[in-house]
Symmetry: C2
Subunit: 336 residues, 2 copies
Amino acid sequence: MSTANRHWILARRPVGNGYAEAFALETETLPALAEGQILVANKVLSMDSGTRMYMTDREDSYQPGTPLGAKLIGTVLGVVVESRHAAYKAGDRVRCYGQWADYSVVEPDATYCTGLDDAHDDLKAYVGIYGANGWTAWVGVVETGAAKAGETFVVSAAAGCTGLMAGQIAKARGCRVIGIAGGAAKCDLLTREYGFDGAIDYKAADVEAELARLCPNGIDVYFDNVGGAILDAALANMALFGRVAVCGLITNYIAEGPVPGPYRFDQVLMKRLRIEGFFSPDFYAREPEFNPQLARLAAAGQLRLPFEVSTGLEATSAAFTKLFTGANIGKVVVEL
Amino acid sequence: MSTANRHWILARRPVGNGYAEAFALETETLPALAEGQILVANKVLSMDSGTRMYMTDREDSYQPGTPLGAKLIGTVLGVVVESRHAAYKAGDRVRCYGQWADYSVVEPDATYCTGLDDAHDDLKAYVGIYGANGWTAWVGVVETGAAKAGETFVVSAAAGCTGLMAGQIAKARGCRVIGIAGGAAKCDLLTREYGFDGAIDYKAADVEAELARLCPNGIDVYFDNVGGAILDAALANMALFGRVAVCGLITNYIAEGPVPGPYRFDQVLMKRLRIEGFFSPDFYAREPEFNPQLARLAAAGQLRLPFEVSTGLEATSAAFTKLFTGANIGKVVVEL
């Protein structure tokens, strides 16, 4: 099989959110598969802000950086078109770490790859509620945050994919839920459509003062997707023995140099807080445990996720940019 | 009874470690006890760095600040000389939040106060191994740090009272223990006398590089007494899923303005760390659980604590200063 494959490479390290300048679309002829590899026709590219870290050359990241000139990688959903791996055959639907390309060449024994069940016809569901974002929201609320009924739960990037699900999961568990998001429209959506008890527009409000007003007994669980000044505003308002579940630190991903930690870091001692990071690849293997819990919430109407779909491989850099500019509500994907 | 009582007051807020200028020794005639109060002849004043926070007017502290002109407070050991509280009688030995004075007036129903058992003739033991420092070391190692045999354990202010006990407790649990202390003499003591596997002189060494050399598999538990640059050096060297048990943040206590948090804060996410503060008053009530465990270690020769004794109430400000200038090894007390 001699097939053309368009693929995005990391042409240079992105500065800030300059992804259009950092990525380049190239075309190759696919090489023959090696033993143990599969060829996946990509159908959905999952846009995830954590991928930003792979674009740096930092050695203290959770994943090795992508070398300049190499293909950009991320979670993809697709269909196997050719297999030299015994566990996969043509026609299988898979979720894997693939390439931002028409086709992904994947070595399932060396990288994340899993076949999909038949529960959902719509492939996108497997990077939404029933994928890493859903599992992350679940773990952050239930395990890292240990949110209990009656507690006050605050989440940042609350209209984003993980934040929106985290807020709904916390609400379903009986928490009072406050979301922090950018813009009045998103805030309205959170309270009117998704059952949040309150929302703070960080672009317009004094977040620390609003948290104090909306959380008079303090924040028991802060689910953080952003770090930076909003983390500080939350730390200033934590309840005794509160938990900060650190899901993402978008502020840090984009920084060029060292970023000071939160100025209210000493609240970890003053309030006896627990600040804990968590990272979805650590619990990918627990998918069979998470999905039924998430499906139960979805069936009860307690967990919904809108998609922000871009179409065509060319749209990838613009779609990725949305994650950082606050342009999206829910899960951003590129459909091919 | 008309008795003169010398007592230290907070004459002004200390700047840095200028305690001699901030404290003033005054004399009063003791007022008659009110119902519910006891009068304690102070025998031992416990010097604790956390007391520094009570001397600020910060509202985000773990304890309300001491008003200017008010008596300085802290943990004292003494003997009841007069009682208007049913649970106490003259002659009882007590540990309580008292005043830095010849006599403490204490209201046991409103403040920490407890009678002492007969296990130790030497009163000092009740603010050493069998007091808040011992319990703090135990909780930080066993519970907050969750140190397990075979893990690498690092403690800062390792020659101080809590740090020295934390290191020994971790060692007794089978950890590899590295201490960070100021000066070659202290470092020698840690490794030669107290069984530490290694020690780093932060005044002479590049702490981050030395931690990398001494902890090639990363730090599993960092027991932090200081914060600041040493916390950053530790964060840069944590192992995946490491725990940072935040016992004290001396760097922050002394700061006049907001202090940036650790520059390596993002390691909480990159390494999936747990950073957790703990504070001994939360577990004072668990004394009956802790002391037998600590006594068992002491009986086995695995837990020893030297005292740095100053004599006479006049010596208090100089004794307190030792906690912050690195002049002490082990527990600093003032004996009256």
